[in-house]
């Protein structure tokens, strides 16, 4: 029993040490938000500086971060929800129905995940330009309905954790297919949907390249695009503090989402769910 406790203690020590290695640079980053650019390029410290106000003023001189957060929410929230719902729908469709073209679609998903994204940028811009979608949020939101990676993950997850007996049972009781998806499949996939939702939100929130190319109006820019403008100072060093502050501001919503939704990544197939 003593050996058990020591071993457990050692494991905790390892976990905590690893956590410290992850937390430490994050804290440095947060502390840097309160220091001036000159102080930052001179070295690190964990003691907060006194330049928070100046950095805030500098950020506001370049852009209004509240508007950036608002714009980012308008893009990231619908994109994440659409991606989560439609990916689960597609994943279930691919994983549990046998129809012609099923394997082909799955194959295409795999293929498209492997194509380096950056190079289709110009083609994507051409498309949006032809559809008159420059300065619109539609090209940033709607394509998330077709998130290849998320579909792939959810398909794998549903295959591994969805008991087919449950679906059969529901059918026997006369439930419609959409009802089955919404009331049985979706709740059971909750850990995976939440995982992908969190990652999707982070991805959408931090997405830089597409909004940078597509949005040309200051008032419509998302937060990462606004943040990048801080790098355009003639003397980039003077903006270092403001850059860190902007990063700190932009990380807060992610942490909130993470904290709120990571509790859904839990064991959801309880003993009670599979009765028959």
């Amino acid at each position: 029993m003593v050996g058990y406790k020591i071993k457990k203690g050692l494991l905790y020590a390892f976990l905590v040490l690893l956590a410290a290695a992850c937390l430490f640079p994050f804290l440095l980053m947060m502390v840097n938000a309160t220091r001036s650019g000159v102080e930052i390029t001179r070295g690190f410290t964990l003691i907060p500086g006194t330049s928070l106000k100046e950095n805030m003023d500098q950020v506001f001189k370049f852009f209004n971060p509240f508007r950036g957060i608002l714009n980012s929410i308008i893009v990231a929230v619908p994109a994440t929800l659409l991606s989560a719902y439609f990916s689960a729908l597609t994943a279930y469709g691919l994983g549990f129905y046998k129809f012609k073209g099923n394997n082909f679609i799955f194959f295409m998903i795999l293929i498209f995940m492997m194509i380096p994204g950056q190079l289709s940028l110009i083609g994507f811009y051409n498309l949006c330009s032809k559809l008159h979608l420059i300065n619109s949020y539609i090209p940033l939101i709607v394509p998330s309905i077709a998130s290849a990676g998320t579909v792939f993950f959810l398909r794998q997850y549903i295959i591994s954790s969805m008991p087919p007996a449950l679906i059969e049972a529901a059918r026997m009781e006369g439930a419609s297919e959409f009802y089955i998806f919404n009331r049985i499949v979706l709740p059971i996939s909750k850990p995976a949907v939440a995982t992908m939702g969190i990652m999707g939100f982070i991805g959408n929130w931090n997405n830089y390249l597409l909004p940078m190319i597509l949005i040309t109006k200051n008032e419509k820019m998302t937060l990462p695009v606004m943040m990048a403008t801080l790098r355009s100072s003639t003397d980039i060093q003077r903006n270092q503090g403001a850059i860190y502050l902007a990063v700190a501001i932009s990380v807060i919503p992610i942490l909130l989402v993470f904290a709120c939704f990571s509790k859904y990544i839990i064991s959801s197939v309880t003993a009670g769910a599979v009765k028959e």
Binding site: K7, L15, A21, F258, S262, A271
Partner: protein
């Protein structure tokens, strides 16, 4: 009776079309078109703007015969190889610890978010941070090692972690693993938590020990997700770009040992003064073909026992 059941099953299966329809429509519009356009461009000599000339496979010939492309591929594989072993190894270790039926480790929600933190720091900040910590003559890391050496009366000849070609790829691989292990852990853990508890309970009743449980229940059940993690790590790894690009100067001695395929592509796709869109498109497709062939091997590996 049997006939009726099968026709009913077919009727159910038809719903599959309805379920995948939204995906397919949006996918066709926003993903397929740009990718096909890139394919077209890869057969032209387009530089920046206007219309390129159709030059058939000249771009592809140029990629295949360029030693720098192959060197970049070798660099990418080396960094990725070290990275993936560390990243997935650490993630697996954590999964084993947290899913252990005997120790019942607590605090998963907190640790999960802490381990994910490095992924939330912008790559530029990470690059700056490690460049400063690992600086050859001034970095805290080397100074600490030096003081440890001194404690034992030895002399430490400082290692240039990022500036030297013999260490830089491995340094980058370690940092990359540090950035991404939380991500792999999050996904693997989610799939472990999706496993029906009854299996574990049944195993416990049968008197299976922890390693049997892990090997016989956990591993096989998370195999599909492992495949996902392995393939996405491969895709992400072979497209590695930001850390080496930001941390190693193009005019430094280590650059030739850390230039990845994506950096090679970037030089022709988006760099002022050397933009050659047609050629960059061909490089992108070469990279795609390489990723595809490695993925097929991986896919076969994961599917062989199904």
């Amino acid at each position: 009776m049997k006939l009726q059941k099968s026709s009913k099953l077919t009727a159910y299966n038809r719903w599959g079309y309805a379920f995948v329809a939204p995906f397919v429509i949006v996918f066709a519009i926003f993903s397929v078109y740009p990718v096909l356009r890139t394919l077209y461009l890869s057969f032209t000599d387009l530089k920046i703007l206007g219309k390129g000339n159709w030059i058939w496979f000249d771009n592809y010939k140029r990629v295949i015969t360029d030693k720098f492309f192959w060197r970049a591929l070798g660099n990418t594989l080396r960094i990725w190889g070290v990275n993936i072993v560390l990243q997935l190894g650490l993630a697996f270790l954590l999964v084993i610890i947290f899913s252990d039926v005997k120790y019942k480790m607590r605090g998963l929600p907190v640790f999960r978010i802490l381990y994910y933190l490095p992924n939330l720091i912008a790559a530029t900040s990470i690059a700056f941070l490690f460049n400063t910590l690992l600086d050859w003559r001034y970095g805290t890391f080397n100074i600490l090692i030096n003081s440890i050496y001194k404690l034992f009366g030895a002399t430490y000849n400082p290692i240039d972690w990022i500036g030297s070609g013999s260490t830089a790829p491995y340094t980058l691989a370690v940092i990359q693993s540090w950035m991404w292990f939380g991500n792999s852990f999050l996904m693997l853990m989610a799939s472990v938590q999706g496993i029906n508890r009854e299996y574990f309970e049944a195993a416990a009743i049968d008197g299976a020990n922890r390693w049997t449980t892990f090997g016989k229940i956990t591993l096989p059940l998370i195999r599909p997700i492992m495949m996902y993690v392995a393939i996405t790590s491969l895709i992400g790894g072979l497209q590695m770009f930001d850390l080496p690009f930001l941390m190693v100067s193009q005019s430094g001695a280590a650059y030739r040992d850390v230039q990845t395929v994506m950096m090679y592509l970037y030089r022709f796709g988006f760099t002022t003064g050397s933009t050659q869109t047609g050629y960059a498109s061909a490089v992108a497709y070469m990279l795609f073909l390489i990723i595809l062939s490695v993925s097929i091997v991986q896919y076969k590996f994961f599917n062989k026992e199904r």
